[in-house]
Amino acid sequence: MNSKVIYEKSKGLSDFHLSYCPGCTHGIIHKLVAETLVDLDLLERTVGISSVGCSALNYDFFSCDMQQAAHGRAPAVATGIKRVRPDNIVFTYQGDGDLASIGIAEAIHAAHRGENITIVFVNNAIYGMTGGQMAPTTLLGQKTTTSQDGRDAASQGLPLRVSEMMAQIPGATYIERVSVHDPKHVNKAKKALKKAFDIQNKKLGFSMIEFISTCPVNWGINPKDSVDWAVDNMIPYYPLGVYKDKTVGEK
């Protein structure tokens, strides 16, 4: 009996062991980005921009060219690289501490200028690398090391919905929020990434894919339960779907 390999480690990933904690869905998102670049045959001319946060070391994990940016400044670095080398595919990989907090201005202005880049935004509702502090995306009532009685709207404000906000920007072309909590949604997320990179390849403008991710260690629950926690708590506040698609009806 013969056999056919139907799933293996993507060629877009290097042989480095990922530095993430066990069960962190960052690994799934890395895999999706790598698989998408391989499937679209873009890997050879892709430059990734890694950010600061848990994903800071991801220049070791992708087998395309990578550049490290200062905290929050990945879209600005991506803008520079894309303008100098417009035929390269440029993506940034940023967490919610990087994009939604310190780097929100860069992200907004990159979208506003309609830069032809793709942002992979990972939202896990907490600052992972620094030890579980409250992020702009932390849910109401969620306990973190800096909101020990749970986030309170009166003193800490409401969680920031980044995709909805970016969708209001006229310069943005494609904004979608996806999740990786089960195999079906992983496949959907891959389609979203394909669409985003395809838009960039066709020079149609700015795209951002927001991933709902988990942080088992800082949420203080095991990987299985954290996936369920994300489904029960994050997705109701951060609904999945396409928030903006300028390519529809412009054929």
């Binding site: 009996m1 013969n2 056999s3 056919k4 390999v5 139907i6 799933y7 293996e8 480690k9 993507s10 990933l13 062991h17 990922l18 993430y20 904690c21 066990p22 069960g23 962190c24 869905t25 960052h26 690994g27 799934i28 890395h30 895999k31 089960d182 195999p183 992983v186 496949n187 088992p216 095991n222 990987p223 299985k224 996936v227």
Partner: protein, 78 residues
């Protein structure tokens, strides 16, 4: 009769249990009797003959530990 098999890269495994959670035929578990090079309890297959080669485990694995092979019958021209 197994429809396929999985190949586990033991030393990449971090024992997070996501694959065991998503396996529809419940044939994956962590091998509590051993640890891998990095000190984690790695994955093992309990009943390989029940594998349906759905690749759910590999899809959900954050560390690309699992390679999935599907068995294909020899081409026959009948």
């Amino acid at each position: 009769m197994a429809k396929g098999r999985i190949i586990i890269d033991l030393n990449r495994c971090k024992g997070c249990n996501l694959c065991t959670y998503y396996c529809p035929v419940h044939i994956l578990k962590l091998d509590e009797t051993t640890t891998n090079d990095r000190g984690y309890t790695p994955l093992m297959v309990t009943e390989p003959e029940k594998c349906i080669a759905c690749a759910f485990c590999a899809t959900m694995c954050p560390d690309s530990v699992i390679t999935v092979e599907r068995f294909v019958k020899e081409a026959n021209n009948e």
